[in-house]
Symmetry: C4
């Protein structure tokens, strides 16, 4: 996938995942803070969102592996070519391996949502492992490339490993909204950086970048920080918009909420409200 | 031990240890979750399993050291050859040192199970130190080898140091089933990777691997991820099988359990049940 | 800004920030320990101090970016010179990027002080990210320089990354006075080290330093430790002075305090007292 | 101090400190576990031990700095020789800097024991910083030396930085006997390794070591693990001996203890007992 599209597809995927996680986590945080203490049931909209997220991860991973295998110049499920004594299209196999682990994290998410027997946190551990594997494979990916190419990929690793570390922390520190938003932010950063890599290595228009010029490396380093700033800004904006939308809806539903606090057993009306705002 | 057998023996050992830890930890987790709160006594089957584990570690370490010393081409307890002014078989001494620390961790496990005076967590600290020492010695082991040989050993270090770190975390975060299963998973990964090293460096059949080819290094990196995926799958399967076996047995013993919750002082019947399922 | 002034300005900024943080944290700690348990409202002087700190960070960042852009030999908001096909004054753009993130941390501080909706800890996360970005850009700043120049900048990184790590810890471990003072101490260290860099690279008087002599590198390493010792001493002194000043004032106001413990709802008199001592 | 004595003195110092810490921590742990819950006053013997430890650290640091400065071939408080335009005896100044930080940690220990105003944990932070500074200076110490010399010093760094990290953890996880014993163990390891360095680089008898032979490096790596095993063994033995000595004395004083649990306000008899066993 050494072309612009090959970077735009994972980029779009990670951008979407980042936005999705931000919205999901703000919804869950709103639910947690608006609940009276003691009532700590996972809200039904949260379960449904987890199923959707897990399902999409599994589906995406499956499609990704199939595409990498059976694309025109793919390995077509051949790993070793005994005729020429060489490995067949290892790049595609490596990408498939990365997808596999995101698929596993999707399975873990579905399983831990569906059953109480699966210990809480398994989904985050699996996501952390998926990010680690992605970074791990990329790390050995970038050997023997021109300086700018190696540098721009190693900056990607900063986002990947930071995401892996912050997701691993979530295994132990649960329901911490800062960590949850940080995870979303790092996914957005990773996604937008994939686009940046595409623009730099396979420019759609204009002159090619000089892959050995030191000034280019300096600019790209700074550019990574700008992407981070934009990702932080985006997460802050999305969070605010989602929060105040929820607030306005809850404001209308104030009477219902007051009623609820008296009859805590029947909380279906508020749940319906939350699901409504989620489906928008 | 520079042959296939020399890698298969530690590989089998770590595979077995990984399976054992997974089963033990699921049993303990089942016991913890099925107990009413407040009753937090260590179950007797758990103590017995710890004794067996510790005893086997001590026995294995002792046998390992003896074999490394008194094998035909071993050092026979000679460290320095004053005649030739050279060290005698340092490789064997290094392997013996690794065994020694696993033996120490066995002693720590037996001691902390036998006596309440030994602070809880000493066994995990000792195991973490044993893994650290293993990785530490391997790290200086792999200098000046062909690229693929060095790379395949340094991948082993990833599993070893990750195991050491996760076991160290268990000193502070106790009874966390995710960490416990992660430890089992990393032991299985380490064990299966030992086999992989054996297959690559001393192939039983077929052509020898080219130890300098970059494609081989790329394949091996990816192969490590596949081992990790298989290890995760194995731990998930074993856990499920053990859990549902316990469930079925407890299902039969439901009446007993209900009876127990009334007479909490006499819990011998359930314990017997758990030990029964453990001994299968 | 490759001159003495260019290092003295950030140096003074970080020194001031370090002193300010030390005083603020000691005031907050005094308030926390002198309050009866259960009453955990943020004191009003603390809010006002946070507004001042945040406002100054935003203002400083804005001025800094403007100066870097529109100084005589600055880039004047031009990033790429299409005529010569080269980047324009990347150094100034990098410094501006660093200021930007400190500005963002100022916004986060103001926002998290003003609204309860912003989760506690966002300000520390933003400050940690700002320090990380500073270190991150500096890290790629120092390539291809003479040994002493590279070394003296890499020592700065020790202070910057230690500050980033300790601030990140504060996201999770809140209201820990040791971490808070450590943060102040690391800012002071960073500030005084900026001055040291200025003195070494652009000596105001006397002979130039030999940038390749090994003895100079050894001295500078040791000198960094002396700066650390002085920073620790300064934080200890400032803390003691602030604490005992507060004590003396509270001593006078003892009767008020005793009165307060009876009428906990009306705590305006003590607050006024604390604000008085803060404004000195 | 490039001779055997120059390594034996810090070695003996760290060995003694390790033994002292082990005994002190076991005494404190015994006190903590034997106290009924709720009564969590620091025992008087503990305060006295802290004063002694802090005083000795301050005294030792002062003597160390003086010796390094005013030894026959020392710098005699001259830092820069303007005549020859060179630094004067930087090695001695560096050693003095290390002593300085251990002196500071002594002051922090005395201060935090003497006054409740000094936040708990400052003494551990100061000790952690002292170890960090020691490792930091050593790290730049070992450049451009023969391989074995550099290697044996970098192994020392493993003990130093592990000690710094575990002491830093104690700032946040207090009264954890495993961490406390680990600290003692790492000091013993550091002390015995100083002796080992002395024996290798300045052998008292026998032939000199070949500083470039790879086998020597392999042996020294393994030897470090043996030192670790011995340090673990020593800490285990000392802890057991101290604990059972305390037990026997408490056994005799059983009646007193039973009496105490009735009259909790008057606990002077048991305290006297503990102090008695401490002074042996």
């Amino acid at each position: 996938m050494a072309n612009f599209g090959g970077h735009a597809i994972p980029g779009s995927f990670f951008l979407l995942l980042g936005f999705w996680l931000t919205v999901k986590n703000i919804l869950q945080h709103y639910w947690r803070t608006s609940q009276p203490k003691g009532r700590q049931i996972t809200p039904p909209f949260s379960r449904r969102m987890n199923y959707i997220e897990g399902g999409l991860l599994i589906f995406g991973a499956f499609v990704g592996i199939m595409v990498e295998q059976f694309v025109v110049d793919g390995p077509h499920a051949h790993l070793y070519d005994t005729e020429h004594n060489s490995w067949v299209k290892l790049m595609n196999w490596q990408h498939g391996t990365m997808y596999l682990f995101f698929g596993i994290s999707g399975i873990a998410l579905v399983a831990s949502t569906a059953s109480k027997l699966v210990p809480a946190g398994v989904d985050r551990l699996a996501l952390s492992v998926a990010l680690f594997v992605e970074g791990f494979l990329f790390y050995y990916h970038v050997h023997m490339r021109p300086p700018l190419d190696a540098h721009i990929h190693s900056l990607l690793l900063v986002a990947v490993f930071a995401g892996s570390a912050s997701t691993m922390l979530e295994v132990f520190i649960r329901d911490n909204i800062i960590l949850e938003l940080l995870r979303g932010c790092l996914f957005i950063l990773q996604g937008s950086w994939f686009y940046q890599i595409g623009f730099v290595l396979y420019p759609l228009s204009g002159p090619e970048w000089d892959l050995t010029l030191h000034d280019n490396i300096m600019f790209i380093t700074m550019c990574f920080c700008w992407h981070l700033a934009v990702a932080l800004l985006l997460v802050a904006c999305i969070s605010s918009v989602v929060w105040f939308t929820l607030k306005r809806f809850s404001g209308r539903g104030q009477d219902i909420e007051i009623g609820m606090r008296k009859t805590t057993s029947n909380s279906s009306s508020q749940k319906a409200l939350l699901e409504e705002s989620e489906e928008e």
